[in-house]
Amino acid sequence: MKFRMLSVFTDDQARAEAFYVGVLGCQVRHDIPLGEYRWLTVVTPDDPDGPELLLEPAAHAAVKPWRDALMADGIPLIQIAVDDCQAEYDRLVAAGVIFTQAPVDMGTVVTAVFDDTCGNLVQLAQMK
C-alpha cells in the first residue's frame, strides 16, 4: 500500500493553482473539469511520481470554521520536506509569500510556516 493522494480545501481552485504551480513550483498532475469545479491535483517537482495533493473546493459548511480556527493557531496541514529551509524561505519571501513563522531550529529539524493564499498554512521542514 502507498499513500497516493492527500487533499486540502482551497478557497478558490484557480488561486490554488496559481500559488502551488506558479509560486511554489509544483506541477499539475490531473486537471479534470467536474461541472462547477475541477479535479485538480499537483505533485512536487522533486517527487513527480509521489503522492498527489488534491486541491479541493472549500464548499462544505464545516470547512470555514475549522480552517479559521487552525489558521488562528498557526497550525499547518501540509508539510513539505526541503533541503535548505532558510533558502526556501528567502526565495518565497522574495516571491511575496507571507510566513507566519520564519525558520526556527527545532533541534532535529528546521521548520517554517507560510500561508498558501487559499486558506491553509503549509510547513517547510528541513531534517538536520
Binding site: D73, G74, I75, T100, M106, V109
Partner: protein, 127 residues
C-alpha cells in the same frame, strides 16, 4: 479632608490595591516552570503563533504538553499582562511584555548608600 481629597484618597488606594493584585498575578504566573519556558521562547522573537510556541516547547524544553495545556498557560500569562496578543488577518500572534517583570525587579533594589529606603516599597501585599 475635603470631598475632593477623600475622592482622591479612594482612587489612590484602589490604584494601589489594583497594582498589588496585578503583581500577585505576575508572581503566580511566573511560579510555573512551563510558563517560564514559554517566556524563554517569546523573548527570542515577537509574534509567535500557538503552533510555533508548541514546537519550541516540545523540541527545545522537552515539555510533553498538549496544545490545549499550552494554550491555557498562555491565557494565564496574558491575564498577568506578561504576554500580549495581536491579530493580523486570520493569524493570532503572541509576544512577551516585560513591563511587569521590570517593575518587579525595581521593587527590592537597595537604595544608594546614604539615601533612606522608600517606605512604600516595603509594604506587604494584601491577602
Amino acid at each position: 479632608m475635603t470631598e475632593f481629597g477623600i475622592a482622591l484618597w479612594n482612587l489612590t488606594c484602589k490604584y494601589s490595591l489594583a497594582y498589588y493584585l496585578c503583581m500577585s498575578d505576575v508572581y503566580k504566573a511566573l511560579a510555573e516552570p512551563a510558563r517560564r519556558a514559554i517566556l524563554d521562547e517569546l523573548i527570542e522573537r515577537d509574534d509567535q503563533t500557538l503552533f510555533e510556541i508548541c514546537g519550541r516547547l516540545a523540541t527545545k524544553h522537552d515539555f510533553a504538553m498538549s496544545r490545549q495545556a499550552i494554550s491555557q498557560h498562555l491565557q494565564i500569562l496574558e491575564d498577568a499582562d506578561l504576554v500580549r496578543t495581536r491579530r493580523q488577518g486570520r493569524y493570532k500572534y503572541h509576544s512577551i511584555n516585560t513591563e511587569p517583570i521590570e517593575t518587579s525587579m525595581k521593587r527590592w533594589r537597595r537604595p544608594e548608600s546614604g539615601t533612606p529606603a522608600n517606605p512604600s516599597e516595603s509594604e506587604g501585599e494584601p491577602g
